[in-house]
């Protein structure tokens, strides 16, 4: 490396306008980390326990949630029952852990200042972090479904699926609807992840940010259960999650699902912008 070479180095190192390297590096960090792998392992425990306990116990018709009662008729319901159990705490916690870690984790160990000095533009950093949170959210939700489907089919078999509305659809369309319901929920959790991303820009303590996300999630569920606050319910970030069951009506009841997707998109946008407003000129002293 000579002085002349140095002088021409900007030309020698052209800017790549489109590159997925940063995002892939983020995903490697997330999915390569032991803590997160253990978390995914725990998420998989619910469908396994569910499938096994239903298999070994005598069915008592008429009790429990809709999906749970239907498990013995079609293994796919193991996935749906698992999702409805995990959506209250486990999945939001998993997404909250990743989102809370996104900025605060890097600030905490000091790598944030080295990312910014590379340089990584702050807007790009927030965009890539949120993309990674969204992908994790989808993967974690799909993972629960996948384990549920696998365990369900192994123990109870597949076949035509009886809808919540009564009619029947074939195995192929049923699997497609399970996938759609899972993606719908994954996007819902990702909007919670946007709230986590924002909180993560406020602190250098990733655990604190994660706890804040979980508290907000639980608060949202509590408020959703108070009838006197019914005017508020449709605006709560978690309110439309349970609507994922609407994929199992004939025809699909899109009303609630559309509202759910719009709510998720709204929360994601508002909190991503809040994170940007907070972070774009924040002093990085950690």
């Amino acid at each position: 490396m000579s002085a002349a070479e140095l002088a021409t180095s900007p030309a020698a190192r052209p800017l790549r306008h489109v590159s997925t390297r940063f995002l892939r590096s983020e995903l490697r960090l997330i999915f390569g980390r032991r803590r997160n792998q253990a978390g995914l392992g725990i998420l998989a425990v619910v469908p396994l326990i569910l499938a096994i306990t239903v298999k070994v116990s005598t069915p008592r018709p008429g009790h429990g949630p809709d999906f749970l009662a239907s498990i013995t008729s079609n293994g796919l319901f193991v996935a749906l029952a698992s999702l409805s159990i995990e959506l209250a705490l486990f999945l939001p916690l998993a997404v909250g852990a990743i989102a809370g870690d996104s900025i605060a984790g890097e600030a905490n160990i000091g790598t944030l200042r080295y990312l910014l000095a590379v340089p990584v533009h702050r807007t790009r950093l927030l965009a890539v972090k949120f993309a990674a949170i969204t992908i994790f959210s989808l993967v974690a939700t799909l993972w629960v479904s996948l384990v549920g489907v696998a365990a369900g089919l192994a123990l109870f078999g597949g076949g035509d699926m009886t809808m919540l509305s009564g009619g029947q659809i074939g195995m192929g369309p049923a699997v497609l609807r399970v996938v759609m319901a899972t993606v719908y929920l994954g996007l819902g959790f990702a909007s919670l992840g946007a709230i986590g991303l924002f909180i993560s820009t406020l602190t250098e303590q990733p655990i604190g940010a994660t706890i804040a996300v979980v508290i907000l999630n639980v608060m949202s569920f509590i408020l959703d259960s108070i009838p006197q606050l019914s005017w508020l319910h449709e605006w709560l970030p978690t309110h439309w999650w349970m609507s994922f069951g609407d994929f199992f009506r004939d025809p699909v009841a899109w009303d609630g699902l559309t509202r759910g997707l719009l709510t998720a998109a709204g929360y994601a946008l508002v909190f991503w912008l809040a994170a940007w407003a907070r972070f774009s000129d924040k002093d990085v002293t950690g």
Binding site: L6, R13, F22, S25, L29, G110, R113, L116, A117, H121
Partner: protein, 313 residues
């Protein structure tokens, strides 16, 4: 080259005020291109805060600055790829290996060519002597190894400017010497190096320029010889009659005459050293040794910033 292009770093009235105090107070830092600039100052004098402002990590309260001739932070996207930096110690992901950590840094750099990542990462590790430990987890690294890895991070791409905040912190004597050589070789390649330190002996050997910070102010800066010239040479007389020698020196007009056991030291001023020896001999004071010395950078540093051990602020 434009006028602003003469300086790799140029700040004007750069100031950072934290709630309770002014950490950096209206400094006009000028680092000429091609220089090795020793950025000195006691603990808490504002070196790291200045460097954070230079890199755009924190926003100045007032003042502005240019890096490599371009206004910051507006041109950060064009300038920072040419700047390698070490700020307040190393920071990496503890559960990744050293190599994976450097790959991570490289992968977020939109100017980096992924096809050459492996070569450049290994080259940087080799240059700081870490190639053999490349696959160890960062968590298992010692303080000095971590510091070396941070330096390797600055070498992943060709740089025109290196900003190194205390690069020898935690290094063994061997490592310290290697870093000194490294700074020298980077400078030989045409890069400008801004290196902060409170270890003067290190800086003295590699730097062409120095700047001295104290309580947020830049007390002095310039080519090392110029800064040193401000301090006048001192004559040092070894004798077994120090009291008499001191009398002679004072009579000759030397100032700040200090008597230690068997040694008398005084500032020469405009006086020619020969005259001092001649006068001593003439007065019959036995001289067993005589020397004229420029004060060391350390003496200068202490005279500028005060001897107190207490951290300012």
């Amino acid at each position: 080259m434009t006028e602003a292009g003469e300086f790799a770093v140029a700040t004007a009235g750069l100031t950072k005020r934290f709630k309770a105090q002014v950490a950096v107070n209206a400094i006009d830092l000028l680092v000429p291109r091609g220089s090795v600039y020793g950025f000195l100052g006691p603990n808490g004098s504002g070196k790291t805060t200045t460097i954070r402002m230079l890199l755009g990590l924190i926003r100045p309260t007032s003042g502005h600055h240019r890096l490599l001739g371009r206004a910051m932070p507006h041109n950060a996207g064009q300038v920072l790829p040419l700047v390698g930096s070490l700020v307040e110690g190393p920071a990496f992901h503890p559960y990744l290996t050293a190599r994976a950590n450097l790959q991570r840094l490289d992968s977020v750099d939109r100017h980096a060519d992924p096809r050459t990542t492996k070569v450049r990462v290994d080259g940087a590790l080799d240059r700081v002597g870490l190639l053999a430990a490349a696959d160890k987890k960062y968590r298992a690294y010692s303080l000095g190894m971590r510091q070396r890895l941070a330096i390797a991070g600055t070498l992943l791409a060709p740089r025109e400017l290196l900003v190194l905040d205390e690069p020898t912190n935690g290094l063994d004597p061997q490592g310290t010497r290697e870093v000194r050589h490294l700074i020298g070789s980077l400078a030989d390649d045409g890069a400008t190096v801004l290196v902060s330190s409170h270890l003067l002996s290190e800086v003295e050997q590699v730097c062409t320029h120095i700047g001295v910070m104290h309580v947020g102010r830049l007390l002095t800066q310039g080519p090392i010889a110029e800064v040193r010239a401000v301090s006048e040479p001192r004559a040092r007389v070894e004798t077994d009659r120090p009291a008499d020698a001191a009398t002679v020196l004072r009579a000759l007009g030397l100032t700040d005459v200090v008597v230690e056991s068997g040694v008398v030291v005084g500032t020469l001023g405009a006086l020619v050293p020969d005259k001092v020896v001649a006068a001593l001999v003439h007065q019959g004071v036995p001289v067993t040794g005589f020397a004229v010395a420029q004060p060391s950078l350390e003496d200068l540093f202490v005279s500028l910033t005060g001897e107190g051990f207490n951290v300012s602020g």
